[in-house]
Structures are given as C-alpha cells and as structure tokens.
Symmetry: C3
Subunit: 388 residues, 3 copies
Amino acid sequence: MAGCCAVLAAFLFEYDTPRIVLIRSRKVGLMNRAVQLLILAYVIGWVFVWEKGYQEMDSVVSSVTTKAKGVTLTNTSQLGYRIWDVADYVIPAQEENSIFIMTNLIVTMNQTQGLCPEFPDKRSICESDANCTTGSSGTYSSGVSTGRCVPFNKTMKTCEVAAWCPVENDEEVPKPAFLKAAENFTLLVKNNIWYPKFNFSKRNILPNITTTYLKSCTYDAITDPFCPIFRLGKIVEYAGHSFQDMAVEGGIMGIQINWACNLDRAASLCLPKYSFRRLDTRDIDHNVSPGYNFRFAKYYSDPSGAEHRTLIKAYGIRFDIIVFGKAGKFDIIPTMINIGSGLALLGVATVLCDVIVLYCMKKKYYYREKKYKYVEDYEQGLAGEMDQ
Amino acid sequence: MAGCCAVLAAFLFEYDTPRIVLIRSRKVGLMNRAVQLLILAYVIGWVFVWEKGYQEMDSVVSSVTTKAKGVTLTNTSQLGYRIWDVADYVIPAQEENSIFIMTNLIVTMNQTQGLCPEFPDKRSICESDANCTTGSSGTYSSGVSTGRCVPFNKTMKTCEVAAWCPVENDEEVPKPAFLKAAENFTLLVKNNIWYPKFNFSKRNILPNITTTYLKSCTYDAITDPFCPIFRLGKIVEYAGHSFQDMAVEGGIMGIQINWACNLDRAASLCLPKYSFRRLDTRDIDHNVSPGYNFRFAKYYSDPSGAEHRTLIKAYGIRFDIIVFGKAGKFDIIPTMINIGSGLALLGVATVLCDVIVLYCMKKKYYYREKKYKYVEDYEQGLAGEMDQ
Amino acid sequence: MAGCCAVLAAFLFEYDTPRIVLIRSRKVGLMNRAVQLLILAYVIGWVFVWEKGYQEMDSVVSSVTTKAKGVTLTNTSQLGYRIWDVADYVIPAQEENSIFIMTNLIVTMNQTQGLCPEFPDKRSICESDANCTTGSSGTYSSGVSTGRCVPFNKTMKTCEVAAWCPVENDEEVPKPAFLKAAENFTLLVKNNIWYPKFNFSKRNILPNITTTYLKSCTYDAITDPFCPIFRLGKIVEYAGHSFQDMAVEGGIMGIQINWACNLDRAASLCLPKYSFRRLDTRDIDHNVSPGYNFRFAKYYSDPSGAEHRTLIKAYGIRFDIIVFGKAGKFDIIPTMINIGSGLALLGVATVLCDVIVLYCMKKKYYYREKKYKYVEDYEQGLAGEMDQ
C-alpha cells in the first residue's frame, strides 16, 4: 500500500522533458528557423486562411418553386391562329425542382384506336403481306403489326398496324421552332435553403430587395445579379448557346444556385450565385434522340362516347434548378485536427535539419558527438553475441 | 559490400530514444499532469465520445412515395354541389419526392381561342385605340394585344387581346379557402433509405408496427412518433402556422425525415425523426406571388370539333419530403487521424510546461542548465565569423 | 535595444535538437524497426494506397432524362381491343429523375357527380338509414355520406354517398397484369454528371459508343455494361424480383448509377456503374397499400356541357434514377493531414519501445540510467517541503 502510494506520488510529482542540445551556429540556426517558418506559413496561411480548415462544413438542403410567365400567338395551316399561355406550354403544370417549357411541337390530331398503315421507314415499307410479321412491334413502331401490307399513299405501301390512327409523322421537326417567342418568356425562381447543422435558412429573394424592383427586374450577371427573374433567352445565352437553335429540338438547361457561405461572417454576406450550364451536351456523333422531347396526349370523347385524342410530341427546354453549396462555421474538432497535424509537421523541421546537420555538413562528427550518447548493450559489448 | 552490411546492421540493431530530464518537483509535476489530463480528456471525451471521431460517415440515399386520402363536398354558385376526391385535387397525379394538394382555386370555364377585352388593371384600361399597342404582350397580360380599345363592361374600356376568352379574373382569391376541409385529409409517406457505404437499408414503416395500427394511426409527435400517416392540418400546425391561413394562398411545407444513425449499435435503434418546416417564409414586404400557385387547364372538344378549356389557377400546399441524415460506423482511418492528432496535442503539454518552467519560474536558470547542453560552433567560437 | 537585438540574434542563430541515447542492441533495435515498419506500412499502404487519403473528395451533381419506348395491344370486355403507347402509359408525361410506367389499371368509366350507393365493405353495408351518419366521410370512403341506406344490388344495401358515381370497385386487381407486355418495353436513360470542385463533367453515353450500337443495344451486365437502354423486365430481374409479380400491384425500382471516379487517372476511366434495387421492400406482414399505385382522371364534357370523367387507378413501376458517387483528386490538405497524423503515429513506436525497454526488460535499470537524468528540486531536496 505504502509502495503504491510512493509510485503514485512519484508519477504525480515528476516532470519529464527531453534534454536538448542547443547549437549556436548561424548557418544551422537560420536554416532551422526558415524551415519552421515555412511550415508555419503553410499551416496558418493555406490550411487556416485559404482553406478555412478551422470550420465545420455542412451541405445545403433546398426547396425550389418556379413560375413562368408569357404568352405568344402562332399562325399555322394546321392549327390556325392560336394563343399559347402558361397552362398550354408548361407540362406538367408543376414539378419540384424543374420546369419544362414547350418550344416546339408536332401535333397529330383526332387519333382514334384502329387499323392504319404504319409511317414509312426502312422497316415498315413493304411489297406484299409476306414482308409484314403479324403481332410484332418493334422499338420504333407506332403499333402492333396486323401482318397486312396496305397502301400508305398513292406511291407507297407499308405494313398495317393496330394503333392510334392516323400514326404520327415526326420526320420533320418544325424549323424555326413553333414557339420561338418563348425566348422572351420569364421564369421566377424562388429558392429557400437550409443548413441543418447550423440551423441557418435563407431565401434567394433577399431582404433588401423591394417589391417594386421585383416587379420589373430581370436577372443580369452584372447589373442585377440578385434578381430571381430570368429571361429564358438570356439563360441559354449565358450558357453559351443559341436559344433559337436549342428551341428546335429541345434540351436541358441547368440553373445552378451556389450558396457557398462563411457563417462566421454576417448572414447578409451569404448570397446566392447563379450560373447556367447546358446539361445535354450535344455530340454531333451521337444523334440518338438528341435534345429533349416527350409525347403526351389530350383525350376527348365524341358525342357517341368514343374516345379520340390529340397526340403531341413536345420539344422543349427543361430548366433544372440545381442548388448546391457548402457553409462553414468555426468548430473545435477540425481546428484541433489541423493544429495537431500542423504541430506534427513542425516536428518535421527538426528531423530535416538533423539530417542536414548530422549527415551533410563538414562538422557532422562534431555535432553527432554532441547529440548522441552511445550505449553498448553490455553483454553484447563483452561477447558480441545476442543476449540470452 | 562489407561496409554496406555494417551500416545496415548498425541501422537495424540501433535503438534511439530521446534523453530525458526527470525533474522531481511537486509544483511542476502536478502542473504537467494536469495539462496532460486536460488534453487527454478533450481527445477522449469530446472527439471520441461526443463527436464520434472514430466513425466514418455516409450520407443517405432515399426513395419516397406518398398517398393522400380524403374527400370533400363544396357548394358554390359557379360550380354547384361538387365532390372533390384524390384524382381532382392532387396535381400532377404522382411526383417523386413531393405531393401537391390543391386547397383553393379560381376556375375560368369554357375558354375558347378568340378576341376579348383584357382584364382591367392600370396597364390595360384605355380610353381609345391610341392607348393600346398592337402585338405587344406584357409580363402580366393574358394575351397578345390587337391594338383596339373595347368595352369590358358598362363602365370601363380595356385593350382587346387575342387570348383564351373570357380572360381569367384572379383579383380576388376565395376566402376562406375553397377546399378548406383539406385540413382533415391524410397523407401516407413511405420512405426507404439506404446507406451505400455500409449497405444498410431501412423503411420508415418499422418492422414492429402492425397492420392494424397502420390502418388507424395518425402521426403525433408524442403519442405516435413512428406512424407514417399525417393529418395535413397537424403538419402545418407543427410548423407553427395556421392551415386555414395557408390554404388560401398556398405554400410549401417541408416534411423532414432525419435518419441520423449510429450503425455501431443495433439496426433497430436507427429510427426516423420527423420534423416540419414551412419552406416559403412569407415576408409581409415581399408579396410578389406570395404562397404557391400555378395554372393548368382541362381541354374539351365541342361536338363541332372545336376545342375549349377550363382554366384552373390552383392554390395549394406542396409537401416536399426532405430526407437527410448521416450514418456513422467505426472505421480505422478517422480513428487513426484523431489519435494521431491527439498525440500531437499531448506534445503540447510538454511545450507548455517547458515555457512555464524555463521562463516563468524563479529557478528557471537551474532547470535550463539541466535541460540544455550548450554547444558553440567551434569555428564561430574561435573567430566569431560565419563559417564558410 | 541592444539587448533586444541580442535576444533576436540568439533566437535566430540557435538550433535545438533533442539529445538521443543510441542503444546498440540487436533485440531492442530489431523490435524498434519492426514497430516503425508496421506503422509506416499502415500509413502508406492503407491510408494512401487503399483509402486514397491524399485525395480531396467531391460529390456528384447530376441531371437525368428518360425515354420509354414500346406499344402493346390489350383485349378486354370493358375496353375492347385497345392499343397502349407511350402517351397512354407514362404518367405524368415527364419527370425529373424518375419515370412511371403503368402496368396494371382499374378503370371506372363515365363517372358523374351525383348520389349513389357506396362500395360495400364492413363500414358501408347497412340495414337502415340509422346505420349511416349524415355528412361523414371516412378515410376509405369514396364520398360524403347522405345518411340514407340504399340498395347496392339485389342482395345488399349500402350507405348512399355524394360522390363521382358510380363509385370505383378496386377490390380485385387484374391478374395477370393488364399491360404485362411492358416487360419488353425499353427505357433510355441519359445522365450527365458534374463534379463542381474539379469542374469535371461526363455523360453516360460514352464518347466511344457509336450511333449504330446505341440504336440496337440493350443493357446487359456482362456483354453491354455501358449501353444506356434497359429492357424493363431485365431491370427487375437484375434486382432479383419477377416482373410479372411486380406488375400486378406496382412498385418502385431504383436504377442506381455509381460514378466513383479517380480523377488523378485518365477521364476515360471514369465510367458509370449500373445497379438495380427494389426500393419498396414488401413485407408480407405490412400490406397497407402494398406496391405502388395512384389515381388520376381524364375529364370529358358531354354535349350538354356537363362534365364526366374516367377514373383510373394506375398500378405500375416507378423507376427512380439514383445517381451517386464521389470523385477524388490529389490535394495538398488531406495529404498533409494524413502525413501529419502518420508522423505522430511514428512517434508511438518510440513510446512503445520505451515502455518495453524501460519496464519489461531485465536490463531496465541499466537503460533507465542512460535515458534519464534525475534532477531533484533543490529546495525539496533540502527540506522535503513544497517550495514557497
């Protein structure tokens, strides 16, 4: 018991510190301090000031709503004069983080269930019934083949299909785009973000923006960088593309909102940064379904109760609102990890200088003698043999 | 060759350890141990126990499905008695991580393409044709102006537009909300999560929940925290808002599911935690399109084949299901990084005590003499000059 | 001033390095080197080679578009022969990261607003008006009860409801699935990813894929791992389920695209890896709304102007495209943190060996004497009392 206490007392009242050789030499001393300075500069300058290694990071949680505005008038032989408003060209009417604006379309009116000749292509053109397989339906066919070869027009015969008739002719995409005026439509993006770890939330409609400003502004990277209303043509232009080109076959535009925030500073300095990128990089080599399109139908019932539909192949631009960003705030853990790692690196200075002093300098034997105390294993010293 | 072997042998059979001064002093010893204890307590207590620095983290991958239930009966002069069920008020019928419940609406029936007077506001009211610009279409107009000034009603004239006629009158939002009974509708949220790094997946319908319970329960933060069926009114209430207020102009509600899991413990302890937040914080100052609404249309064909539509401006609440969370599991890398950093910090104890002992204590010269061995650069010692 | 300069000079021209005992012993030396080697192997082998601790990581930002293809013919007594194409079975027509393919459905045609008997279940079957509560509407009822008990058919009476009449009978799900041929439909998934930190973007349609290949290929894990066209049946099969089973009640399939990239290597080695998982794990115990279904309606107007609708309860498979992955690229910060932590761990070798040498070996007193210099606090040495 008493022995145990003595050991504990010895442990508690002891203080051990390494014994140091202090070499007074201009050359070595300066080198040592220079190396230490370099490492210190790295740790403080790069890790702390530049990369903010003292901050804990959090990723953004976001909610987005969009609202398009604009009307346009078109005039074609098939549809006559026609007005297009939001309810006509936004499909579906609401989505979570994206909005689709129809810019071009192929309409096939008054389709009914029935039998009709397939649209001619190299697979469907036929000479006789022998060319058509009953019941088959290829990836690109509009219906199920009946096995008969029927005239498509005066000069051509194609396989007959059970389908919504007449079948769609989507060979020619209208050019210029049907709703080319969509270039001047506007898009209001409302974005609310949240950093759960720091319980910090903010909107992209900044508190210092007035209602009057919001009613009249449109986003401009230089003059109006915080206006959340975008002219569609400008979005595409900022991404380096031409709206009229893109409108023909459709595409995907990314509206990126970057909320990189330093929450150690005032909340009012945490601002959204908009950027625009085309997401469907077109390769001239890969024109398998280029652009962006999809089909939908409006269903009607005849007075007799039979159903017919208008099939629309909608080409258009889908605007995906991509919200990303990281917020940082001072936290003890990453700070300590970085300080710990920095201190360990400071140790490297001594190791490095030791190597130079003890191995490379002329006076290395002199320094070695000062630094090291050589102890021979006494048994080994006597016998030159492994002990035991 | 033999020399090389000798060097290798010397390297292998050498053991170097720093020489230590062991100072037996109560004051310094206790101080030293106290500082070491503090650093150890920080490393173990804070980094390991509290922040779980020994765990690797992974972010959640999630899939959500929703299903609303409820019917209500309304009675208005415009629509008469009308029943509203799921197919009527959920638009679009299905979405990925969100569901929109219509709570209020402005219906404009029997719109056809044509010419009609614009709805009166300060831009459209006119005295004569001179006030109307042909072909223009402002952000807030319903159609393309024809340039004529026509009577809107007995007392007022507005510019004529080519539009879906008659144009919508959305000046007055019905109050109280048309489908105010939506407060009692229920929402079933099915959520399946996956932590790819740990190949761990789980559902929010917990394995110990019985079918009978599921058929009858509704979520309550205290009594039924794991019931995945929510009463819409309660969701809004938990977020600190009034459902009836919100129903009028619409809004966005976030249903947040937090899957913070410690996978070093049993999988059954990894439980979802629901919280509710209104995502469209309303500013009284910023009433540019407050709440949440969008327009959609139902298209009909007349017996004659002409198309007409019913335009609906739908106000409602979009419920965004936001799934987040991080799972942690023991991993050697973060453990080692934190141990390494902790050890480096322990070194700080020695540095700190050295500073006190060697610079602040009365007996500092005595201790310094013991710790340091001063070595003069012998050339410098002789000549006081910089060596080569 | 001169004193200050002297101190600065002393500081600058000083070089301190710990004094080392160099013990020449085979046993201790070998042990020391072995421990050092182990720690070095861990730091280099595990942290750097295996876990790529020298890389900064970034999470993927992604954009997805999908396109389904396929037609099928069905023949039932209710609907007769009917062709189903993309516009019929994809609902809604476009979504951001998912696509719903209807595989089964319950159609209730010609519903109008009115009064009719509720569909019989244990809540709605009645004997007399006393069993029916006026104005009530339960979670599972189709309408608002009028309080009357009316005959449902010749043998049964149910409570009358104000509803879309006739009410839906969804007791029996068609089996096999109505659109069972959906197994052979194909799905083209176009995915464009971006790593913002490294400004690296790529598509899942790889640059070395030819258009001819794209027109004819279908994904196969072994023969065509980079073909972005999936046969629906195969997706479900890869996830270990039966398409025909799943088609009956619907479900959620996850198409997971993993973009784990090492950006220190060539960009062409950054490839998508597809995997498939069923997201709505079915529990036999929990059959509260199993599978995946939702209701939507097509609205028609009668020649008289009255509205009727066709209600469709759509069962089907929702394909969620889940894109995840992390890219790594060399960065100085994590490298330094790991080196720092590794160096600190190397220090552990000395501590470990010291413990063995100074406490466990027979010659421990001999070694201790060499390593330590004992310094007694001189006052304490004289008086045995605490100083001051």
